[in-house]
Amino acid sequence: MGDVYIQGADMIPFGRYNDRSYFQLGAQAVLGALDDAGLSIRDIGAVYASSCFNAQSMLGQKILKEIGQTGVPCINVSNACASGATAVREAWVAIKAGIYDMVVAVGAEKNPRGMLGGAPFEGPPPEGLFGSESMPAVFAEAGMVHAQKYGTTIEQFAEIAVKNHFHATMNPKAAYRSETPLEDVLASEMIAWPLTKLMCSANVDGAAALVLVSEKKARELGMSRAVRIRASILTSDPYEPRNPMMFDPNSVTRLAAAQAYEMAGLSPQDLDIVELHDCFAVAEILHYENLGLCAEGEGGSLIDSGATRLGGRIPVNVSGGLLSKGHPIGATGVANMVEIVEQLRGEVGARQVRDARIGLAHVLGFGAAAGIHILEHA
């Protein structure tokens, strides 16, 4: 069975689009990815469309009404923050199965404004009475487990934000492109200890798209800019004793990582670049260990060492990450892969990771889902 290749990739600049709908944003990203691949929507056999909040509105069909109603199947998916990776994986499955030669995966989102989180229950509004269900609090609590076990400090968590905000200064498509020194990160509004405002991801709009093709088609189209998908993995949360009272970002990611490395026949040491789900600064340190980028308990010293900064041993979130590039929920998983694709092709300019050949993209959906893709320049 042949491999699956990414032939086209694009994302729109992330930010606020008050005068445009989420499907217009998605359509723009699809056109960008098609242009990047030198293809037309008429070439595409199926559309896998992701949006956490609007998948049920027939997102894929709305996109085709903008750019060409070719009559192909549209599969609309919602899987929390892993929605985008889910669309890409379903696209990968379809080509792997030999059903299509060329498909599009697109993620598009206009997030609701304000702080996200919370679940319905008939009773008094639980927030504050029974702890907090807000996303910052939930991830703060996960970070505090690490802090208690390994002595990780608020400064180490804050350095994640310093690094990713620095990276974003080199990404013209990032929503926030200002450097934030450590003092600024620590002095910004405390949301839920140890998370300050600058350690929480940016709630913005955005869209990103990929064109996936079969190996046969990639050879016809030319392999010079093709990127091979070495692993495509999606997991749901395995049983953990405190789940769901305590959200566990770790086990679902570890399950996906083990499967991804096995599918790719690679180990973490083989990676040149990683885009991981830094929805909150504490999460990046947890995922260093979940993805095997360092040993257990060494996430804090990994950020201290500078290894995950541009120019380090294994640069992480060179795009600026969710913290500063932004986190339009359903687009995030596709956008992480767009960054890896463009890095592997050597097309990102100032933030280029030298000689990047193999990259990993990870997302984590609350509830829970993890998606991991490992990509290699063809």
């Binding site: 008094p124 702890g131 505090m144 487990v145 839920a192 200890w193």
Partner: protein, 136 residues
């Protein structure tokens, strides 16, 4: 009007006294906070059986919430508490200095009026919070 449970783990006995209910799998011992059709841990088809949970336990993790949704009073301590007997609950810890908080700190559950609100028929809610064990 008789008070109603304001949290899914609270039940009220025949004399009107609240208690905590968890569910334990007879096959693997896993404890979960809600009834399920089979065991989510081992997939055994006998549903985990209800049990009355102890109301003492230990702090697993926490955060001090300084900003929440609009209208929610801050700051407050949001905590994940492992109760003796295996049930884990999320709750607010009251009357504690943040500097006192550490993993394994003994805590006790205290029933309250869930902020004083009522349901649409006027029945008061029963809620709970945690305090440091050994304190009034």
């Amino acid at each position: 009007m008789a008070p109603r449970p304001g949290h899914r783990s609270i039940r009220v006995d025949g004399s009107g006294k609240p208690f905590l209910q968890g569910y334990r799998c007879g096959a693997c011992g896993a404890v979960v906070p809600e009834p399920t059709m089979a065991c989510r841990a081992c997939a055994d088809r006998t549903p985990p059986a209800p049990f009355k949970s102890p109301e003492t336990g230990r702090l697993w993790t926490w955060t001090v919430v300084q900003r929440s949704y609009p209208g929610i009073a801050v700051p407050f301590v949001s905590a994940v508490v492992d109760l003796d007997g295996g049930l884990t609950l999320k709750g607010t810890v009251v009357g504690v200095e943040p500097a006192q908080l550490r993993q394994s700190l003994p805590l006790r559950l205290v029933y309250d009026d869930a902020g004083g609100g009522t349901d649409k028929d006027g029945a008061p809610w029963i809620g709970f919070h945690f305090t440091v064990a050994g304190e009034a």
